[in-house]
Amino acid sequence: MLGALIIVFREVIEAGIIVGIVMAVTKGVPGSRLMAGAGVVAGVLGASAVAAFAGVIANALNGVGQELLNAAILSLAVCMLAWHNIWMASHGRELAADARQLGQDVRNGARSLVALAIVVAVAVMREGSEVALFLYGLVAAGGATSRDLLLGSALGLAAGVAVSAVTYFGLVTIPPRRLFAVTSALITFLAAGLASQAANFFQQAGFVTAWSDTAWNTSAILSDTSLFGRVLHTLVGYSDQPSVLQVVVYAATLAAIFTLSRAFAPRASLRPAAPRAS
């Protein structure tokens, strides 16, 4: 039972952290709860579909369908996170400064919500499909022990939801004035980590063969399969044996989001008046 708990928990922890961050980022925005919920539902449906068609997907596109699907949905999440951050840099401060300023800004805000809902859906879908396959294996194996394992899985899932809650409540205790800077940084690192994972899947698919050497090996110091390593893996993209390409993509994504956020930020907001709490 403990084994099943750990396996499921390990899979859901990344999605849990991402959902928690997105909920904190969109706290107080009208319709954000609905969007996050829709993202989770879409993610679960997507995960079930991916799990159900795992065999078909694996053999699609000359046998690299699975790698490309993973790379594509991770890239989608990176783009959505980048877009959100850049958009927030250009509009977010005004919104925070006057929450009653509606009209066009709210429509734009809703678009930003869609981007984040997609991120939630992608995170749930990716981790969820592996959980779904694992659970299917347990059910298919049958027997008395499988009930025990299913209970362990349910507890693992609950622990993942708890991680989500801890992330959310940890973030919302940050004063609103500082929250914007903290979540912007978090999302930038999150996006860079996901981009490096996408790069790995492109390499696994054989699309990129350059820079495939291992850049460093720190598995003896901190394994990225340990709990702390796993959290770092999600938050800042820590990997104990990344390829050179992964490191390059990681740095390039960080630099791109940072530079674009700067470029799109209105001059006036370089020294903003302290925004009121919304």
Partner: protein, 116 residues
């Protein structure tokens, strides 16, 4: 601002389509390694492969339940359906022992790709 999630998504879809169309055939001949999975055990548990050239692992899952072939050192993570078959492309490696396992049954499934 003209940047929107939809435009980004369209651009991304285009980029992926381009990648698919431009996907090159494997440039270098790769060494083929067959591995089967039965009763959550790899057979052979220590397949060998030559160093210095790309390796293709063909994994056949004879169990009715799905598994996830995973290796930290090979940097591979791939699901195989129950009764399914997958191919795993591995970069050219230096001699050594590269551990792999089934992520769903790490307690019983351990194998090493022995590169010589």
């Amino acid at each position: 601002m003209s940047l929107s999630p939809r435009k980004l998504a369209i651009g991304l879809a285009g980029a992926i389509a381009f990648c698919l169309l431009a996907a090159p055939a494997p440039a270098q001949e790769s060494a083929l390694v067959h591995v089967t999975l039965k009763d959550h055990r790899f057979s052979p548990a220590e397949p060998t492969a030559p160093a210095g050239k790309p390796i293709t692992i063909e994994l056949t899952n004879l169990d009715p339940t799905p598994s996830e072939f995973e290796s930290k050192t090979l940097r591979v993570e791939k699901v195989v359906a129950g009764g399914g078959k997958i191919t795993i492309a591995v970069r050219a490696l230096t001699p050594g022992r590269y551990r792999f396992f089934d992520d769903y049954h790490e307690d019983t499934t351990e194998g090493f790709l022995v590169v010589q």
